[in-house]
């Protein structure tokens, strides 16, 4: 789809019957709900990248720039995904104020530079941190702010934006999900997580990373409803179109805040976030010395649930892994 990803959204009024509308407008005039709560948006994800046999690249080496370029090239190149004139949202993981727990600035820089080459209309880097952490402060102390602003790219602390919209999901637990509007407006979403362990989600890679477009109450609600299913449900509407995993230094054993850092010296990329998270999780478990890394990865609930919802492929026999090394 060289024309890029087109997304249609339309506003659907709650309720169909005139009586319901009447009641709703009465409620609205009485201030029962805010304007944002009256509308539920729909967002269609790109069907094109529902590849039957997804490609996942795994590029090893030390030269982060070359690795990121190789990894994106190996899955078809940035031009296949980013058409000139599209609005790009890059979602790194900057949930914490510790450098080892966030996407490394060097990887983010390399990703931005590749995307810039495709000449999009707009690139935005945005994040809403883990509850209890200040996103802007995280940007500053981890070096993310310097890199992004240095490249002349807009960096957004989503927690400071008040525009929140509700979007319908086609998941199982979440009928609709509240997200920051900015994320909803993007044509292309690029998830750039660091490969980490997670106390509850088991791993946090490209799909779990999408929780950073949620306001904090919605994040909390995921845990109340059931985190693993909610991560999958969220990705039915906010499925990254491209994901690039920073596995240069990997947080193993425990996480997502603190864990044992192990050199991974790799970058992974794919247009299928399920396939990518599976292969990246396998990579992580192997670094931990797990004897059945693939088996363990296949059993990560949110990866399995996402595959069940048709978000991507988790069947290893259908995933083509391109392994390369750059020196």
């Amino acid at each position: 789809m060289s024309g890029g990803i087109s997304r249609r959204r339309f506003v659907k009024l709650l309720g169909g019957a005139a009586a319901a509308i009447g009641l709703a407008s009465l409620g609205y005039s009485l201030g029962w709900f805010s304007a944002g709560e009256r509308a539920v948006l729909e967002r269609s994800i790109s069907g094109e990248s529902n590849l039957e046999r997804p490609l996942v690249s795994l590029v090893k080496g030390r030269d982060v720039n070359a690795m990121v370029r190789r990894a994106i090239k190996a899955i078809g190149g940035i031009e296949a995904l980013v058409s000139p004139g599209s609005r790009i949202l890059i979602k790194p993981n900057v949930g914490f104020n510790r450098p080892e727990a966030v996407t490394s600035p060097e990887v983010l820089r390399a990703v931005i530079e590749v995307i810039k080459d495709a000449d999009p209309k707009e690139i935005i880097v945005a994040e809403s941190a883990v509850r209890g952490y200040n996103t802007s402060n995280n940007f500053g102390v981890t070096g993310i702010a310097d890199v992004v602003r240095g490249l002349g790219i807009r960096l957004v602390d989503l927690d400071k934006s008040s525009e929140i919209v509700k979007v319908k999901t086609s998941g199982k637990l979440l009928g609709e999900v509240s997200v920051f509007k900015l994320a909803c407006d993007a044509d292309v979403i690029i998830s750039v997580p660091r490969l980490k362990r997670h106390s509850q989600a088991i791993v946090t890679i490209s799909m779990k990373n999408m929780m950073g477009i949620l306001p904090s109450d919605q994040k909390g609600m995921f845990h109340v409803l059931g985190l693993q299913q909610c991560i999958a449900d969220l990705n039915t509407v906010f499925r990254p179109d491209l994901a690039i995993v920073d596995a240069t230094e990997v947080m193993t054993v425990s996480g997502p805040g603190m864990g044992r850092m192990v050199p991974g010296e790799a970058i992974l990329a794919s247009r299928d976030p399920v396939a990518l998270d599976l292969i990246a999780a396998e990579y992580l478990f192997r670094l931990e010395g797990n004897e059945n890394p693939l088996e363990t990865a296949l059993n990560v609930p949110h990866i399995k649930l996402a595959a069940e919802l048709g978000i991507g492929i988790n069947d290893p026999s259908r995933i083509r892994v391109v392994e390369e090394r750059v020196s």
């Binding site: 106390s199 509850q200 845990h223 109340v224 059931g226 985190l227 805040g257």
Partner: protein, 194 residues
Amino acid sequence: MVLGLLFIPLAGSFLSMLPSRRVVRPPGAVDEKLFLELCTRCGICVDACSSEGRGTLEPCGILDGVSMMGTPKVNPLRAPCEARYGICEGRLPCVKSCPTGALRWIEPEEIKLGSVSWSPGRCIAVLGGECLVCAEVCPVPGAITPRNGIPVFHSNRCVGCGRCVYACPADPKALILMPEGERRHHWGRAGFSR
């Protein structure tokens, strides 16, 4: 008339005898008795804290006790305290702003505002959910260790930042911040008392 004038100090001493709640004080607070003498309830520290963004400090209200009213307390429902492992580490705007010495400089590694108290009966993880948000957000190694999906709290390690309380998605919250184990400036001596 004379009786009326007498009433004011009488009422004051009567009210101060009413029970007051123990609250979590800002970092660097001197011992409680001295704190209540020194603190003029000016509220400057509360403002200094808010200027950092969200701000955890707020003035005590009547429910905290009449003698406490207007003195600053940490309320993790507003925001966590950033003095340790956070934005204010090594800067402490609240302490620096205090004009009376009720709050005094304290090194980051000495800060312990209190500790959290956990109510298993409210905890999503105990009730069979997928939570552990507390363990996820706690910045202190070993203060919360998950065991079989359930958090185990180690109050000796907890610095009382309140991040876990702030983030806990249970309603009502399964965590409360208490002054238990707090480290305060000890009057007349260099150093700290527990």
